[in-house]
């Protein structure tokens, strides 16, 4: 007899929601794009959305950590929020909630050839976090050209572009972003059509923080070896080059949960609070 983990209510919910992930991401825009005009910029959100965007409800946690690093002040609100949210959800935030990830997911739907990224590029996120978010602001201040907000494509797309358009419409003098920002914006807008989530996978410092929680977060990917038929369908389902059965809580995983579509359901979203009902299944003879 082989132990077998029964489907839980969380698995049922996941399989129902999976087809509508893009709609869930879209509905979260109602939170991040400030439809009520709150401009609550004294509080950070747990997602990557530039606070200079004319439609930003909250402050960007990465921008605030970098600005506070330049001021030599500990950003307790931003750190506390990211630790608490990361401990509960890990990178589920990236896959289901983040508006910048959603934008890249939409661009990836355009039928263009998609190129894969080598594994090592994932470490760029930690370089970005330690370098452009913490070290450069701390040692050189916010005026340095490698300060994260000066090289951030979210800032370029969500803040610089709307501001330039707004100035042009209002017949004011147009203040163009600098050449570095325009180049980064151009590269980003090209890359999102030929790679899946290039920013999230290579450079996102917020994803780097959340990925550190993947192995301890309340929600995690469970691999049931007894259910696995080694068909490697999960390799095909994963668009990010991860082998989910080997490392279900990989640092590069954004928890899109596509791999849970594999038929034997060897991979499932689990939570630390659920009691998995273990039954026995007959062995194949």
């Amino acid at each position: 007899m082989v132990p077998m983990v029964k489907k839980t209510r969380l698995n049922d919910l996941t399989s129902k929601l999976l087809g509508g992930r893009i709609w869930i991401q879209a509905s979260f825009l109602l939170v991040w794009l400030d439809p009520l005009g709150l401009r609550w910029h004294s509080m950070c959100s747990p997602v990557f959305h530039c606070y200079a965007c004319p439609l930003a409800t909250f402050a960007c946690p990465i921008g605030i950590i970098a600005q506070f690093s330049a001021l030599h002040v500990l950003p307790l609100i931003a750190i506390g929020l990211l630790v608490a949210v990361g401990a509960v959800f890990g990178t589920l935030i990236c896959g289901w909630v983040c508006p910048f990830g959603f934008l890249q997911d939409l661009a990836a739907k355009v039928p263009t050839p998609k190129f894969d990224l080598p594994k090592f590029t994932g470490y760029g996120r930690y370089v970005m976090l330690v370098g452009a978010v913490l070290a450069v602001p701390y040692f050189f201040g916010e005026q340095h050209p490698l300060f994260v907000c000066r090289i951030c494509p979210a800032g370029a797309l969500e803040a610089a572009v709307p501001n330039v358009v707004g100035q042009a419409i209002a017949a004011q003098q147009v203040v163009w972003p600098n050449a570095i920002k325009l180049t980064i914006l151009g590269l980003f807008l090209t890359a999102i059509f030929f790679m899946r989530r290039p920013w999230c996978r290579m450079l996102c410092p917020l994803g780097a923080i959340f990925s550190l929680f993947n192995r301890v977060s309340a929600f995690f990917l469970r691999f049931d070896a007894s259910e696995c038929t080694q068909c490697e369908r999960c390799h095909q389902l994963c668009e990010y080059g991860i082998e989910p059965e080997k490392t279900p809580n990989d640092l590069r995983c954004i928890r899109c949960l596509e791999c849970t579509k594999c038929n034997p359901q060897a991979l499932t979203l689990a939570s630390i609070f659920e009691r998995s009902k273990v039954t026995t299944a007959p062995t194949q003879e």
């Binding site: 001021l71 506390g80 630790v83």
Partner: protein, 81 residues
């Protein structure tokens, strides 16, 4: 890592995060100097207020290491970066 350890780690992280968040939101403050005027006019800004200032580039750290406002009167409309 077994289920019990995971629950303990999760609990510690959530409590730590909530404690940092609450302390930052309600108790943490930083001294900010106005753009013009001496050290006598120093303001103790709460962290939420400092976040709002930082999001529009309204504060900077000067050569002496003190945090100073970058404007007098109305705050800038958007972040200069």
């Amino acid at each position: 890592m077994n289920a019990k350890t995971k629950i303990i780690v999760f609990g510690v992280l959530v409590l730590l995060g909530a404690a940092l968040l609450a302390y930052g939101a309600f108790f943490h403050s930083t001294n900010v100097l106005p753009q013009q005027g001496g050290d006598s006019a120093v303001l103790a800004k709460s962290e939420p207020a400092l976040i709002k200032e930082a999001s529009v580039g309204g504060v900077t750290r000067d050569e002496s290491g003190k945090i100073k406002q970058t404007y007098t009167g109305q705050a800038p409309a958007a972040c200069p970066t």
